[in-house]
Amino acid sequence: MDKEDILITLYEIISEVVDGLETPLSREVEAKDINGWDSLAHIKIIVLTEKKFNIKFSLGEIAEISNVGEFVDLIEVHLRD
């Protein structure tokens, strides 16, 4: 799965959690740019992502993510491993 496929899957996950997602999802988008991506949504997105890709993030990895691009890169590293 390449980064573009990961981004599309991530968009589906975020749409499932955040109602009425209007912002196009690019690598630069941050949680604060998306209305409804609050602390609760954040936990849901992380847990759903882990389930969907069958991977598990460490606390340090999740805490460091600051935008969608970094999230995609992190998922890709886990899928490669």
Binding site: A31, H42, I43, K44, S58, L59, A63
Partner: protein, 481 residues
Amino acid sequence: MDTLSLRISKILDSPDFFGNESKIPSPERIKNEYLSVRNYLIDRNSKDTLIALSLDRDYRYILVILVCMEVGLAFIPLNSKYPESYNKKIKKNAKFDAVFDNESYEIAIKNSKRGKLASFAKNNNDALYIIFTSGSSGDPKGVIITRGSFINFVNWVEVFFSNITSQDRLLNVAEFTFDMSFLDIALLITRKPTIFVSNFKGNIFKLAAEIENNKISTIATVPNNLSFLASEDIYDRADFSSVRNLLLGGARFSEGLYHLLSKNFRGTNIYNLYGPTEATVYCTAKQINFDSSEIINGVVTVGQNILNCATFIFDDLNNTCKPYQKGEVFISGHQIMKGYINNPKKNSESLQKINNVTYYKTGDIGFKDTNDNLFITGRMDDTIKAAGYRVNLSDIDSYISSISGVIEVASIAIEDQDEENRVICFIRGHDKGKILNKIDSTLPKHISPKKVIFIEYFPLTKSGKIAKKILKENFSNGEYE
């Protein structure tokens, strides 16, 4: 110089208590910044000036709060990240004289004057700080807390939390606009832990990482943040072995969280604290021992009165209620606010003189056990009329939170087209079937919710309380259909 100024001068004489060592200046530099800011504020203001603080969340905000307290300059903490309209409302209401922000800080340390100017004269009845609370009406009200009230609180903190020492590492989680952060300030000036300023901005994974990476031992926060931290999605991937003290307050401590903590944080000193902003941070406290007497009908006790504070349960005629009889909570003593700023109407409603004693009427409903332990069961304004009965939503929450498997619960009232209230109950927990059966079989029919919705996590307000307004909006928008 009063005891508060003395305590602060003493710790600022060697300011080596800020954590995140690599990100903040050396203690010598901080001491210079302290003296510069101090001289700047004294030079440009007078004893009667009311100053608003609007700095970014880092060590500078704490330093400026300490300077204001030390020199005797009344201040209003603002959040520079809040919508401008909200801060404007506060300005209109409080009519403050000046704002001290990041730019002022830079100017102060660039144009430093030598020496140490004399501070303002102080007395116990002077305003120390003014905290704005939104309350249930949504209109911000400025609570004036005096030096005398805060000094009493500080004296209690020093003794009650004597197990916290300079070896402890305290994470400041609460915003400075929320008076829970003044417990951190009181701990800092009495028990002298190393203080770290959290920047988790609602990202609970980041909060967990801050605790783990900085080996935090002490956290004062709202129960909901802890509920997230103790949930398996976070707890299972974090190392919280450094945590020794959890100081919880500011919102309801659910029975579900109580059991979660007894599983995941047993051996940690856990405190349940209660107090409206109007009674200077907290006025009752309880160290949780996981003893069965601490919970009655799903309500965890907030303990007994602290130093020079008194809580009472009064009925509608202002008579003292008997043990276990519910009534409204009134507070008297050293920590009662001076009043709401520029709000005589609210002052006369909230501050009542009964037999020459001034009481703060909290609007909270509660009862006491025979050992004078206080239990808060709900809010007066949570009472609604449903199917002809007076029903308190918090009572429903208490009943349901005592059911095994329930972690968190929040009930709301929705008016249907016939203008009848319907109670909708949101639950986070395990064993849905068992919970529903138990609700059906144990709850009196007139308080039984019309609908029960299981959700994974609750939406929260900025201060970490369950955002019932959002639950209501989401429900009305059909999100839980």
